[in-house]
């Protein structure tokens, strides 16, 4: 019954999406307020029905309704409630429904909160969103219906892949989708602007919060995915250049570029057609991310639901949307008002350089990911592209970009002078040099590359601190007030750039100083590893809700004090997973993963990961910076006309 309600809701949502696509586009063309209002209503209703469909599917999972085929294939009664719920998006169909859910919610949000937009622009944005929504709802209903029934219903379902039964995985896909799908709003804004033939500072001001709203969850999602891979896959890596990881990295790189170029467009009216192109490409890469996982074009750990027919559908969607948008771009963009020119030494040119690097990085990842496909088509040879490719291409491009990050916020808009810039950069440069020398004493010339990377991280951190720091130093006479009046946007910028510094610190530390060992340990045995003594105190079998585990307890004595670690090797009905024991400290982690029994003991693999926690701390700090920026009212208040009455007049001091 519930499944049928969900099915109907989905079909109604599809029809509403068609209305949402047609009515406002026609309405905006004819300047018909009734049609445009109809578009807004359709978006809100569509969101409501997709939410209903999603809730229906989630209910089927939670209630273990095995007469629904999808539920029978991805959940069983032994699975804890939280993971039964999370299994809703653990399959191809369910995750596509989640995709559509988020798309519909974003569409509804534009209809609900976009009241300060130009009415025709809002209508066109909603229309484009409706087109995308209709395409994906059609895809869902016609090729991947989540509500198919099974007759007779099996008494018990098949368990969700145990690797996916983890808190990290519960939130990882929704966050990534919030990001991917969020870029659809930027895409809709870009297409709407091309249809209107008008791209200006006001447009950039409207689109920036939406880009930020997509970028924040995407950053969190990528960071969380990396964290999950670290502790769940049981071999201590944090990034593998797997095609699906790359699929999330490409929109992130372009989305970051878009955030910055939209800033230039908002402040200086420059780079209009470039910003539009970035908005289109960012969403296209998000679609390609979806395509990659589902089409079976590449093999990957993540590749579930390999089915060429679905691949053809998604390829069609990518082709139609990106193709139409780019054709529109080729037709309309040359006629757009060209941006204002700027001096070679100015914040605009700093950001242009940033965009150049970020776009090139995205292209490098794109080539690395898809080269195997193209080489095979051309020569019939199969090749694999692995970490060495990225070490030779990604790193040399990323390092200058990281060095440049500090320059941007220190430059003034329009034009700047070298002596003034040098004076502003003196403090961060001194800090970086001091940290570099200190680390050189500790690490020695053997680790010169890591030392340089840590100095670069210090440069980033000091540069980030200098952004509000300089402001506060200038207003030190009344420090309290100058801190209070610092716009959240400035704090957010500083936090995000500092996050990048921490990320680099973590990468440098773990790349240069990682150690590992493998040995068989008997209960009671003690070993020394990376400055710690590790004792296996007990080894026993324990029962979990839907697994049996061999549990090893360790007592560790080391520079971080004495502590206990518990590692498990879990046997589920269908497969095994490793629950690594990790002791986290700011200076480094001890990572212990237990394997199979051997000679009355157990195989133990240990890693020392110096500074690794800063990788994820940095990622989350970047996202936090984004959140702080998003809280800036200057961003949320779209049209400048509305702002005056909301600007509190600063009280005259004393």
């Amino acid at each position: 019954m519930v499944a049928e309600v969900g099915q109907f809701a989905l079909i109604l949502a599809f029809l509403l999406a068609l209305i949402q696509a047609a009515a406002p586009l026609v309405g905006a063309h004819r300047i018909d307020p009734v049609l445009m209002a109809l578009g807004r209503q359709a978006s809100l209703l569509q969101a409501l029905f997709v939410i209903a469909a999603f809730a229906a599917l989630a209910w089927c999972y939670v209630a273990c309704d095995f007469s629904v085929q999808l539920v029978a294939e991805h959940a069983n009664t032994a699975q804890p409630l939280a993971y039964r719920f999370a299994a809703t998006w653990g399959s191809h169909e369910g995750s596509m429904l989640l995709w559509v859910l988020i798309l519909a919610i974003y569409g509804g949000a534009v209809a609900q909160f976009g009241g300060n937009l130009r009415e025709t622009l809002q209508a066109r944005v909603l229309g484009v969103q409706g087109l995308v929504g209709a395409a994906f709802l059609g895809f869902l209903i016609f090729t991947s219906n989540p509500f198919l029934r099974l007759d007779p219903a099996p008494p018990e379902g098949v368990e969700l892949n145990p690797l996916l039964q983890d808190p990290g995985l519960v939130s990882h896909p929704p966050l990534l989708y919030l990001g991917y799908v969020g870029f659809s709003v930027a895409f809709a804004f870009a297409v709407a602007a091309l249809l209107e033939g008008r791209v200006d500072a006001a447009w950039a001001r409207w689109v920036r919060p939406w880009v930020l709203a997509a970028w924040i969850p995407l950053t969190c999602g990528i960071t969380l995915g990396s964290l999950w891979a670290y502790y769940e896959l049981g071999w201590g890596g944090w990034w593998f250049w797997d095609p699906v990881e790359n699929a999330s990295l490409m929109p992130w790189l372009l989305g970051t570029a878009l955030l910055h170029s939209a800033l230039v467009l908002e402040r200086r009216g420059a780079l209009p057609s470039w910003t539009i192109l970035l908005a289109i490409l960012t969403f296209s890469l998000s679609l390609i991310g979806t395509f990659l996982v589902r089409s079976g074009i590449l093999t990957s750990v993540h590749a579930f639901a390999v089915d060429p027919e679905r691949g053809v559908w998604i390829l069609g969607i990518i082709g139609v949307f990106t193709g139409a948008a780019l054709i529109l771009y080729a037709w309309r963009a040359p006629a757009l008002k060209t941006g204002t020119l700027f001096q070679p030494l100015s914040r605009e040119s700093g950001i242009t350089l940033n965009n150049l690097f970020l776009t090139t990085l995205a292209a490098v990842v794109f080539l690395g990911t898809f080269m195997p496909v193209f080489i095979e088509l051309a020569h019939g040879d199969k090749i694999s592209v692995g970490p060495p490719y990225y070490a030779w291409t990604f790193a040399p491009l990323a390092i200058p970009l990281l060095g440049l990050v500090v320059f941007g916020p220190m430059l003034t808009w329009k034009r700047d002078s070298w002596p003034a810039l040098r004076a502003r950069l003196r403090a961060p440069a001194l800090a970086a040099a001091a940290v570099g020398l200190a680390v050189l004493v500790f690490g020695g010339w053997r680790h010169a590359v890591a030392v340089a990377a840590i100095a670069l991280a210090a440069w980033l951190l000091a540069g980030a601190a200098a952004i509000p720091g300089r402001r506060w130093w200038a207003g030190r006479a009344s420090l309290g007030r100058s801190i209070r009046t610092t716009p959240p946007g400035v704090i957010g910028l500083s936090l995000a750039h500092a996050g990048l510094g921490l990320l680099l610190l973590g990468i440098a530390g773990v790349t240069a100083w990682q150690q590992d060992t493998v040995l068989t340990m008997q209960p009671g045995q003690t070993t020394t590893f990376a400055g710690r003594t590790v004792t296996l105190t007990s080894l026993e079998l324990v029962d979990g809700p839907n697994y049996q585990a061999r549990e090893a307890k360790f007592a560790v004595h080391g520079w971080a004090g004495d502590y206990a670690l518990v590692g498990q090797r879990r046997a589920y009905a269908t497969s095994q997973t490793t629950e690594a024991a990790v002791h986290v400290t700011p200076l480094g982690n001890l990572y212990v993963s237990v394997g199979d029994p051997q000679d009355g003991g157990i195989v133990v693999r240990m890693w020392s990961h110096p500074l690794i926690m800063w990788i994820w701390t940095g990622g989350f700090l970047m996202a936090a910076g984004g959140l702080v920026s998003l809280s800036d009212r200057r961003l949320r208040l779209g049209a400048p006309v509305r702002t005056p009455q909301l600007q509190p007049v600063p009280a005259a001091a004393e």
């Binding site: 074009i297 590449l298 060429p308 054709i327 040359p334 898809f370 199969k382 195989v603």
Partner: protein, 177 residues
């Protein structure tokens, strides 16, 4: 001239789409190999596990066998690993090549996760892998009793690939003389 610049993105998209479209027609997990129907190339590999004799192509005759290429850094290898463990228990001849890494790493991986291989060899520089046309791990060759390559699976042997393709093929090869 300027217009040409704005058309470039569309042109690039077209190339990518055509590539993807053609790419879709191939299936990356069950690609035919140049070796199918041909005898296994000759190789003699040193051991992965301390104290065993390694793996040579001569040793893979007499009965149908699976030749599985793996590495300790390979995530998807863990997906097919439970299946290989089960096959070992069922008495299927499974041989392994530890590809492009020092033997110690492969041995550690086997010790940690369990060792499904009757015979296993180490191919640290990927030399034998080149003769076999290995593109990455995991990859599995199905051999008949004469040591002829009959099928190749690129990527993990998923339950579907196993039950629909490899299992029936192995059963047929068992019956062949």
């Amino acid at each position: 001239m300027k217009r040409l610049l704005f058309i470039t993105p569309v042109a690039l998209l077209l190339v990518v789409l055509v590539g993807f479209g053609l790419g879709l027609r191939r299936d990356p997990s069950v690609l035919p190999s140049m070796l199918i129907g041909k005898p296994l190339p000759t190789f003699v590999l040193p051991s992965v596990r301390a104290g065993d004799g390694g793996l040579s192509s001569q040793a893979l005759g007499g009965r149908p066998a699976l030749l599985n290429v793996f590495a300790s850094t390979c995530g998807p290898c863990l997906i097919e690993h439970p299946l290989l463990m089960r096959l070992k228990d069922e008495g299927v001849m499974v041989a392994g090549i530890d590809w492009k890494e020092p033997a110690a790493q492969g041995a550690a991986w086997l010790a940690q996760h369990g060792d499904p291989y009757v015979l296993a060899g180490n191919d640290p520089d990927g030399r034998a892998g080149i003769d076999l046309g290995v593109s990455g791990t995991p990859e599995t060759f199905v051999l008949d009793r004469h040591g002829t390559v009959r099928f190749r699976v690129v990527g993990a042997i998923t339950p579907e690939v196993w039950s629909q393709t490899v299992e029936p093929l192995l059963a047929r090869l068992e019956r062949e003389s």
